[in-house]
Symmetry: D2
Subunit: 381 residues, 4 copies
Amino acid sequence: MNVGMVGYKFMGKAHSHAYKDVGMFFDMNADVVMKAICGRDEQGVKDAAAKFGWESYETDWRKLVARPDIDIVDINAPSDAHKEITLGAIANGKHVFCEKPLALNLADGREMLEAAEKAGVKHAVCFNYRFLPAVQLAKQIIDEGRLGDIHHYRATYLQDWLVDPNFPLAWRLKKEVAGSGAHGDLNAHCIDLARFLIGEFDRVIGHNRTFVKERPIPASTTGLSGTASEQMGEVTVDDATGFLADFKNGAMGSFIATRFATGRKNGNTFEIHGSKGTIRWDLERLNELEVYFRDDEPNEAGFRRILVTEGTHKYAGNWWPTGHIIGYEHGFVHIVYEFVQHITEGTPFAPTFLDGVRCQEVLEAVDLSIERGSWVNVSEV
Amino acid sequence: MNVGMVGYKFMGKAHSHAYKDVGMFFDMNADVVMKAICGRDEQGVKDAAAKFGWESYETDWRKLVARPDIDIVDINAPSDAHKEITLGAIANGKHVFCEKPLALNLADGREMLEAAEKAGVKHAVCFNYRFLPAVQLAKQIIDEGRLGDIHHYRATYLQDWLVDPNFPLAWRLKKEVAGSGAHGDLNAHCIDLARFLIGEFDRVIGHNRTFVKERPIPASTTGLSGTASEQMGEVTVDDATGFLADFKNGAMGSFIATRFATGRKNGNTFEIHGSKGTIRWDLERLNELEVYFRDDEPNEAGFRRILVTEGTHKYAGNWWPTGHIIGYEHGFVHIVYEFVQHITEGTPFAPTFLDGVRCQEVLEAVDLSIERGSWVNVSEV
Amino acid sequence: MNVGMVGYKFMGKAHSHAYKDVGMFFDMNADVVMKAICGRDEQGVKDAAAKFGWESYETDWRKLVARPDIDIVDINAPSDAHKEITLGAIANGKHVFCEKPLALNLADGREMLEAAEKAGVKHAVCFNYRFLPAVQLAKQIIDEGRLGDIHHYRATYLQDWLVDPNFPLAWRLKKEVAGSGAHGDLNAHCIDLARFLIGEFDRVIGHNRTFVKERPIPASTTGLSGTASEQMGEVTVDDATGFLADFKNGAMGSFIATRFATGRKNGNTFEIHGSKGTIRWDLERLNELEVYFRDDEPNEAGFRRILVTEGTHKYAGNWWPTGHIIGYEHGFVHIVYEFVQHITEGTPFAPTFLDGVRCQEVLEAVDLSIERGSWVNVSEV
Amino acid sequence: MNVGMVGYKFMGKAHSHAYKDVGMFFDMNADVVMKAICGRDEQGVKDAAAKFGWESYETDWRKLVARPDIDIVDINAPSDAHKEITLGAIANGKHVFCEKPLALNLADGREMLEAAEKAGVKHAVCFNYRFLPAVQLAKQIIDEGRLGDIHHYRATYLQDWLVDPNFPLAWRLKKEVAGSGAHGDLNAHCIDLARFLIGEFDRVIGHNRTFVKERPIPASTTGLSGTASEQMGEVTVDDATGFLADFKNGAMGSFIATRFATGRKNGNTFEIHGSKGTIRWDLERLNELEVYFRDDEPNEAGFRRILVTEGTHKYAGNWWPTGHIIGYEHGFVHIVYEFVQHITEGTPFAPTFLDGVRCQEVLEAVDLSIERGSWVNVSEV
């Protein structure tokens, strides 16, 4: 499986690492080959190719997607480029592994899904958090009915990198490039995890804020950091979006994504109450899952802190012995493993573009509810 | 200060304990005397008087409020009795210390407030959680501007005693007696703490559920427990109510109160993000406050777990040396202390009936938003 | 049951509170009457009597123990007075409730035990921590064999009130009054809990330190605080004592008591590893017990945080509904309840003076091991 | 820098990963090339070479150390092979990167150190935990004097993989191969961290246990797991070793290493109390450091949970943005980076064989103290 990748910043590094390590820790029939990396800045992409271990580089994604030696096109360029590159890759019969959010808007996402299905290529959206062992364990416990009927789902995604009003106006803060702010970047993850764990959304109502409306235009940016210049520009995305949800299974939901949660660095959390038990998780302690079972002896019931590093826990056994924790980037290794197996062995795979579209539907329903000031059924958008 | 108290169940016990202990731990000019306790069941109230240490008892609250040897009337009977007894006590010129919720509805609450103000008596609503040392410290930190501008306020009140569908239909589950379910019982506390800590609500939107619609009619109940009979009756209050809020200061809020949060016993929590810091608190660990300050050295910034038991922490010095924690009931001792000082020394006091009314306004605005399916300004109700 | 109590500082307040509240929360046939309090400073003891609610006061303990209206003598004066008052009380046929450490040394303790047994009076040492619900639950789990064979016992008692070199030379820092420093004050508790939970010590080896050798002589002291004067005096007790232990059941033990554990206020902790499970506890979160059971499903095993506030947990049901935590002083209420029941109803009771002696044996064996630089069998002392 | 590595099990995988990834995340002048891997079982080592990405393989370490294309010899074979291979590598002028424990005994370790120094090659012992960002931060805080004088150092290394009596007799349980049990395997890490953080040991006294004396002889083993056969063999190493220590700086220390700490999987922890602050760390949450500073405002002092993932934290900035945690294996990447820089750039490096010897001295002093039943000065061994 030869991979060609577009993008070489934060996500490009995380994806490269996944391709580099996956064969060492997982048993696969196919070799994963880091064939070519692509970016517009020739020096930048050349350096990245050398640093990350790609065999070659391109400066035009059109060339990349047309190369006959490429099987999978990995897209982690800024969100406004997702659609065009995806359609180009599909037109060339490539499988596509696309970063989230799938597209800048729902219409684009649906077009991408349709194109992929029509072409019969394999497609994935990189909702990487599904693939952490603790999240997999949560899924397994829920699917086994161990939580019973789900009554409550609460999620947060708490970061604080925008609290400083002098943090520069990075591309993630421009609507035309990023599509959305905390909502599309962070709630997208929370919505996907909720769908993965307990099922579909019925209706939503939200509110949002842009607390700091103008920021210094950056001289340069990499990843989440950046250097400020003296000129100010307008922030055109939300700093925070919160919403209530009713799920189709009757559960009540609440979600908040913000880049103003002072002190919280990566607080992607969920807490799920069912009639038989409760589950809690926090990305900052991603190896742990807290679980409460109502059928434990009353005197001895309590939240269990499960260290999800046993050989019997999904993916954990591929790494180190029990108690030796893994980090953030391992989730990318797992999703790459699953996607390659999906292509080469025909194993089932999700999240596909369909999940990207479903997620986008909820995001847009929330935005619509904010405009209207009242509940919006997801089926409306 | 002679106290006459109506009610002798869970809250009656907590209040009695406060009157019994306050003089031992706090310096007051006035003696607090447990003069008379009142309840309709003569044997029950007689036993309670002996057990809790009240000098006498009454079976008719009208007699109690008319007794010339009573200065303060304490009302912790079920919510549907609050208004009538309060008005009776005020008519007799007594100061009133009333359990929350102040009344079954906003109109009643306003009438009680007006009566109290017209009569010039002192009045209090027992929002006891304001008076825990950790909550006082949170208030102090916020008032000193240490959190900066407040961006987010999130609160939960999580209990699980109704998850069992066989839990009987206690009075707290009947609208005509309790007024409301988790919303009036638990969100009332969260709303009061939010108002205390960061100020007034602007608008709200909510949703609610009654997950279990019929329950066995109880043979008898005390506190939160009870014994089931075989006949079923309808639950007429909410099991859970969640809502979003916009505050007048621009902060975004989210609240959830539920009796279906499996595994959580008394999860009254808040998390407040400001431009300079964050505060977190959980009633199950009521002696601790978690605080993050953005102006700590970047390399050394982190959530501080403050054990709020120092002699310099409000109320803590009246109890034990540092590190010796206090319990749930101590908050009642503190509020009783403050209310008596308010009466005898003229020191400022809140929460009064005005706070009870303000809280009720938010509660009703939420209920109205649920009916309407859209945001409701608190000023509308 | 009429109580006469000697001492009115930190412990005097804690004991007074227990006598005041016990009848309100526990069902007893006997009334507990706070008959007389005794102290050398007349104004001080008079004030304490009024504040705490004692009917009368004495300034000479000899008078107190001779009063015919006293059934129980409670001794919480400084440790050097324990023996004389105890023997006086026994000579008058009184039951004795004595603070720990039982005596300044083992010989004295044994004399007290012998006198009490010969006289046939009831006797107790106030190892209050045994009586917290979480510790009772630990005991129950161990006694049921749920931990299997015990392999490890680790205990700490961590305080930090002496880290400040200007903290004055309180009586607790003088060997002739206190007998010992952190060792006798804090390790005494840890040793008693270890004996209570897993059984007798076989041999020990220790080390200790007095980190700050001179301190300002105090103008006055109360509880653990104090005001410094300008004259310096020698600290004649240990600031910290640590030791290893072998238990008779084969378990390995480790203990540390210190008043120099910066940041830890009341870190009385134990962690017990058995062949089937593990238990952890920390006094700063005294309502919680952490338990791990090896026979939980491997995928779902983890440390459970049990909130020991259920109605089924020992003593917890006497207080508040589930999730409403209790504080430090409640342990004293429970031990007083048990001791009074022991006297009036003949129910079994421990810890008696025998436990005080056993604890003193271990303390002295540790001190002897420090002198010798080698292991000491507890049976040697 | 061409690396030749002996060993391909648990540690071989961890080291291989480090060589594979180091160049991607760190800027180095030298390329690190995975030249050759060596093991006695040809099929096994051939498979490992392919899986881990080594260019070639050898089945005789003598050949490997003689290959002219090798610059660094990495030794992670069982401990009994360390000495011979090290001496062979040195004889060929190779730099040596050796797993801990350096040798089966102190005499061997000293011989290895002397040989390395005489030959002028670079040498390292793989005490990988020094190189985690949180441990580096602890070191920095201590070196800046932020903890003041160190009074207490407590360390544990808690695992539970031997609690099951049917766990087979792996090589780690045979004295002739492993040299020692929990003591050499786990206390070695704790001793090294203590030396790294607060300095040298003065004297020690210990005790140990082999709780399960016979185990099934394994059919095969990998890493920490294994399959049992029916024949039983004797366990010739300790299951647990605990000891007290006096440090040269006056601090009191306590250490425990055990494979019988039910429920604890990888509890490598330290807690350090100084006159100005306290630090706590736990490998199971390796990205976090808890720190208490006495000079924080008294009302606001508390243990800070620092998430050591900021760009300013050592090594953390080489990975992901703040809040994105790293795992166990990253420590190996860091130590490999430092050792290669040491060789190619002449930057300072520790831990060298000298640290391996110092660690071994403490280990053997503890063993001697167990034999003697009394304290042993480390300078004696």
